[in-house]
């Protein structure tokens, strides 16, 4: 059985997994012909060497955290929202286009409308797999992944065709936002903007609703035992669809943050599988909201550090993905590894006992 919750044993296995993952990463680096020690030093340097990098990793931690929480929200009621990537992209392009079309309107109005558009588009897009899961019982993992690809292609079409930026010489990008609509940058020339304050509030709200309210309790019940929840009077179908809607809206907002805080126009680099990295963080955190928040910072440091390492030491930054997934493998297998070792040692002891007894009776 899965041990729920966060306790010392979880922290210990997390620490061991992280150490082992770095060790395996070092082996892969060495095999590929890099000096692991230098590479890891370059990684730390890449994340902390100056204020700009610190700003970048804080911004990325925000993205990971909100994406991870969106995933947690779904998994709490027993539905895996793997489609956050598509919801994020659609939210981003919708928010961007709102800003371009409403050019000239007051800042507050534009930002409000853009946020609403991003949430509506992301939420509605998440509603498709949600409704299909609840009403038709279609596996949501496959549908959400297909919808990701569909959304990415559709956004690419919009950015190349109808909404193409006439002034920029980019292959696929929408029109640029007027600078007065941009979020204020908190650390100069970094990606960090005021969006992180909104994101922090969102993270707090999600945590509060999930852990401290009766709705949160109903969600937990629905995820753990849907039949019991249904018979105790919880409208489980509605709850699942609602959670999917909010999860999608959160992903859409992340897209808007990326547009208004960092890129200031839509192009495909707005998210490079960022939602999947958030999902990975949620998995490592065992879908616990507080742990997601803390781990987001850790993995954001790793990611930005890895990018710095690529620039300074020439090591491909994908070593970051390898380390992250090795951590998941260890964390997911933790119970299995322990039981395997325990049963092996028990078998050994039983065998030894049997032999001792057998020896006695013969003598």
């Amino acid at each position: 059985m899965k041990r729920k919750g966060i306790n010392w044993s979880y922290l210990a296995s997390l620490a061991i997994s992280v150490l082992l993952a770095f060790a395996i990463g070092a082996v892969i680096l060495a095999v590929a012909g890099f000096d692991p020690g230098k590479a890891y030093l370059a990684m730390i340097d890449g994340a902390f060497s100056n204020a700009r990098h610190v700003g970048d990793f804080l911004e990325y931690a925000m993205v990971l955290c909100i994406c991870g929480l969106a995933c947690v929200l779904g998994s709490r009621v027993g539905i895996f929202n793997v489609g956050g990537e598509g919801q994020l992209l659609l939210g981003a392009i919708a928010a961007c286009q709102v800003g371009v079309v409403m050019n000239g309107a007051p800042k507050l109005l534009v930002i409000l409308c853009a946020a609403l558009a991003a949430m509506a588009v992301g939420g509605l897009y998440a509603l498709i797999p949600g409704v299909l899961k609840v009403k038709v019982k279609v596996n949501e993992v496959i549908t959400t992944i297909m919808l990701n690809t569909i959304a990415a292609s559709f956004c690419q079409f919009l950015a190349k065709g109808p909404w193409k930026n006439p002034n920029k010489n980019l292959v696929a990008a929408t029109g640029q936002l007027d600078p007065r609509y941009w979020f204020t940058t908190l650390i100069p020339s970094s990606n960090l903007s005021t969006a992180i304050l909104v994101a922090a509030f969102m993270a707090f709200l999600t945590w509060y609703i999930m852990q401290k309210t009766s709705v949160g309790f109903e969600m937990k019940l629905t995820g753990q035992n849907p039949r019991f929840a249904f018979f105790s009077g919880i409208k489980t179908d509605k709850l699942v669809i609602l959670c999917m809607l909010i999860s999608g809206a959160m992903c859409g907002l992340v897209g808007m943050f990326r547009v208004y805080g960092v890129e200031h126009l839509y192009r495909s680099s707005i998210s490079n599988q960022y939602y999947f990295e958030g999902l990975t963080v949620a998995m490592i955190a065992r879908y616990d909201p507080v742990t997601v928040i803390f781990l987001s910072f850790f993995f954001a440091v790793l990611k930005i550090g890895a990018q710095g390492m690529e620039l300074s030491a020439g090591v491909p930054n994908q070593i970051y993905l390898i380390i992250q997934t090795v951590i998941i493998f260890f964390m997911a297998a933790e119970n299995g590894i322990f039981t395997s070792i325990r049963s092996a040692s028990q078998r050994k002891r039983a065998k030894a006992n049997l032999e001792r007894k057998g020896g006695k009776s013969h003598a």
Partner: protein, 314 residues
């Protein structure tokens, strides 16, 4: 205009393209059928395909021979299969987490190694698999273009579909394989460990998905590796497994259907933006998923009704 479009859609080239697009999906779906029968939910096929694609090209690059590439893919497939089984069968980890992690791991590892070995631009022009020319087909007008001069794997896939079908439905191993997924305890009572069959299924899946990747990189693209070139084909293969109830023959037909829509998309690119035509196979997959579930439920209801009619007393 419309006649032009229809003409280009129903040309032999389209059906040839259908075969080409369907083959990697079909090979992966064959592998997925094995794990599905063994009761493992395998969404890690995308990563397995990607690993196959990369190590095929790597082997071909290192030894300058496509045959060595295939050999490397087979070894890699066994290792990936063992790895997947170690976590899902031995450690009883969450299959969804392991599958997702395997996909991300494969993406990270192949991109990392590709950049370390070939540089950021990737690699192309390595020794590729031969195409097969059947002189007999030269004189048959339509079918000749469709079936002739294809990459080796297209023909190999037909053979494999048949072999896997025989394996699953006509041999004791196939029977045990299906039992290990449906009634593992019964199988254990019969004296066969269901875990062994699960390990076997996982290894077979690793090999078949690896071959699917090898076909992509060494066959279809003539020795090219590009980052993330599996491009969600593993998930489409998973959908094919579900449509076909893990029957190898039907899985191939499902893959052909995917290939057909993919080919139509490619043909329509002259008329519509390629970004929109890319959507077609994925949208069809979603629609088919819904259709399969709805039809399954109707069948069940129908069976219930028949039962009720047969015994009106109860």
């Amino acid at each position: 205009m419309l006649e032009d479009i229809l003409g280009s859609i129903f040309s032999p080239g389209t059906f040839n393209q259908m075969l080409r697009s369907a083959t990697p999906v079909a090979l992966a779906a064959l592998g997925g059928a094995m794990t599905e029968h063994a009761g493992i939910m395998n969404i890690g096929m995308d990563g397995m395909i990607l690993m196959g694609a990369f190590f095929g090209v790597l082997g071909s690059f290192l030894f300058q021979s496509a045959g060595m590439g295939i050999l490397m893919v087979l070894v890699m497939g066994v290792i990936v299969g063992l790895f997947f089984a170690l976590f899902t069968v031995q450690f009883k980890s969450d299959e969804f987490i392991i599958g997702t992690a395997l996909n991300t791991f494969a993406l990270g590892l192949t991109s990392f190694l590709s950049r370390s070995i070939f540089g950021t631009a990737g690699t192309k022009g390595n020794p590729a698999l031969p195409t097969i020319h059947i002189p007999l087909l030269d004189h048959i007008p339509f079918l000749g273009t469709v079936f002739n001069d294809n990459s080796l794997f297209i023909y190999l896939t037909w053979l494999l579909v048949f072999v896997m079908w025989v394996f699953v439905y006509k041999t004791p191993y196939g029977f045990w394989l299906r039992a290990s997924g449906e009634k593992p305890e019964t199988l254990r009572t019969a004296g066969i460990q269901p875990e062994r069959m699960k390990w076997l299924a996982s290894i077979l899946c690793g090999i078949l998905c690896g071959l699917a990747g090898a076909h992509l990189s060494l066959g279809q693209l003539q020795g090219t590796f590009a980052e993330n070139m599996a491009n969600s084909r593993g998930y489409i293969a998973f959908a094919c497994v579900i449509f076909s109830a893990a029957n190898p023959g039907k899985a191939y037909l499902a893959a052909l259907m995917f290939g057909f829509f993919d080919a139509i998309g490619l043909r329509l690119q002259d008329h519509i933006s390629s970004d929109l035509t890319n959507i077609i196979p994925y949208a069809i997959t979603v629609i088919m998923m819904v259709y399969v579930v709805v039809r399954g439920r109707q069948k069940k209801r129908h069976a219930h009704r028949l039962k009720a009619q047969a015994s009106p007393g109860s």
